[in-house]
């Protein structure tokens, strides 16, 4: 089995429209969970979110292209362009185009287009909906656009497993590259959540914080929604070395599990297994891990279960781990969360800076004896890091990443 290098990163989210901008905001510990641009009519109970403000689709795409590209697919494509440009990979007529995969994750797909169609049907009584509804809403719209734009002809597919979508996508891509099935993979996820129907649905679940999410904090009142896209270029290590690529980090393990317990209520056993299996897959022991980019949604239940699972997996070592939830700054981007947080984790390994858990006021039972890196980024040499996602439906996915060496 080959090692798997990360040679490109791309990111667009509330923190910025490229990796450098986003990383700067993360290191400043600055939350971008802000009052919603459109407060709704009647007003949403959800008042804040991490929106990608100032994103101008026409800066990135022609008018004609935009007919077929919903916001989530735009985010996926913009992030993939940045990641592929950084990797320096060129897809032409050679075998690399056939030996490259694209695996994306999204929970919702083209929610805006779907809602527009329903408005015409049920609100306006118009029985005709746009013939572009299907290609715009399909969850693989982003993956297919990237394939078309770059001429990538290997395995291309999309995974939809709620908040674990893009960690599952990265894990699958990692295994495809490691097994030698492909030389490279573009993997990640994207989501555009600020559609009226969806906001009403989240509102009804009563899990969204009234202001900002405060992961691991005593006064946490729920999650904050966010939108964006994040992509990584994974590459056969020898292939990357041979062409002199800048290797940003290594992905060395992946584990996944299902709670088989409850459709929305998490249990610690599933996350424990995902982390243990990821570490086993990476041939790492818990004592070697320095940092966890936590799922850390900021709901009462998630943070209590996740920290319990971390204590179970890491034992006494849990106390010396650095654990942070960057969702406190970029919000919970659902199907994009795993990829966005994997990008943050790669940068943590590369630069030796751990982004904080922002909006933190005081520890509670969940974080009483853990270092959740409150509010201020911290310099730290991180050799091995773990990135968790736990989805509704009880689906858990954990990546293990290592500093490039």
């Amino acid at each position: 089995m080959t090692r798997v290098a990360v040679t490109g990163l791309g990111l667009v989210c509330a923190l910025g429209e490229n990796v450098a901008e986003c990383w700067q905001t993360l290191c400043q510990g600055e939350t971008r969970i802000l009052p919603l641009a459109d407060p709704g009519n009647p007003p949403y109970k959800i008042r804040c979110g991490a929106e990608v403000r100032g994103f101008e689709p026409l800066k990135h795409f022609s008018e004609k292209d935009l007919l077929l590209l919903e916001r989530f697919a735009q985010f996926a494509t913009v992030a993939a362009r940045e990641a592929i440009a950084q990797s320096g990979l060129r897809f032409g007529s050679d075998h690399l185009s056939d030996e490259t995969a694209i695996i994306t994750g999204t929970s919702l797909g083209g929610q805006f287009t779907e809602e527009e169609g329903y408005k015409r049907l049920y609100k306006e009584g118009n029985s005709r909906v746009s013939p572009l509804t299907i290609p715009r809403t399909m969850s693989n719209a982003g993956a297919s656009r990237i394939s078309l734009e770059f001429g990538i002809r290997g395995p291309v597919y999309t995974i939809s497993t709620a908040c674990s979508s893009s960690n599952h996508a990265l894990g699958q891509a990692f295994w495809l590259v490691r097994s030698g099935q492909v030389k490279a993979a573009i993997a990640g996820g994207s989501e555009a959540v600020f559609a009226e129907g969806l906001l009403r649905a989240w509102e009804a679940m009563r899990v969204v914080a009234p202001d900002v999410c405060r992961p691991f904090s005593a006064d946490r009142k729920g999650l904050s929604l966010g939108e964006g896209g994040a992509m990584l270029v994974l590459e056969n290590w020898a292939h990357a070395q041979a062409r002199g690529a800048d290797i940003l980090a290594e992905i060395c393990g992946f584990g996944m599990s299902s709670d088989a317990y409850h459709i929305t209520q998490p249990s610690p056993e599933g996350p424990v297994k995902a982390m243990q299996w990821a570490l086993r897959d990476a041939s790492c022991c818990p004592a070697q891990v320095n940092y966890i980019n936590a799922h850390g949604t900021g709901t009462q239940v998630n943070d209590a279960i996740e920290t319990e699972a971390i204590r179970t997996v890491f034992g006494e070592n849990a106390k010396r781990l650095l654990i942070s939830s960057t969702k406190s700054m970029h919000g919970h981007t659902l199907g994009a969360a795993g990829a966005l947080e994997a990008v943050a984790t790669v940068l943590t390994l590369k630069y030796g800076i751990v982004p904080p858990t922002a909006n933190f006021t005081a520890p509670d039972q969940s974080s009483r004896d853990l270092d959740v890196v409150p509010n201020l980024a911290r310099e730290a040499q991180v050799g091995i890091a773990v990135s968790n996602t736990f989805a509704f439906g009880g689906l858990n996915a954990t990546l293990v990443l290592r500093k490039a060496q």
Partner: protein, 97 residues
Amino acid sequence: MAEHSERDDLASKVIRVIAQTQRIPVDSVKIDSTFEELKIDSLDGINIVFALENEFSINIPDDGVQNLRSVRETVEGVRKLIQEKQETSETVPPGAA
């Protein structure tokens, strides 16, 4: 003469719909342009049909869509459907609708 200008009017409306739907300048669409010349593929074609149905309040049948290959064919197809619609509405006795 009146008929001639009506014909022109319909053609220019169809051309405008095609140009708007394709996001191309209206001047680039001529009555004798083929869809191939305008780079209108099958998906573009059904999107144009959708826009024409909305613009003229007509229903374009599925088998009619497959045969559209040029602007002229489209204009003539739309004209036929508008005429059929008018004839149908004229034959309906008052109050029957």
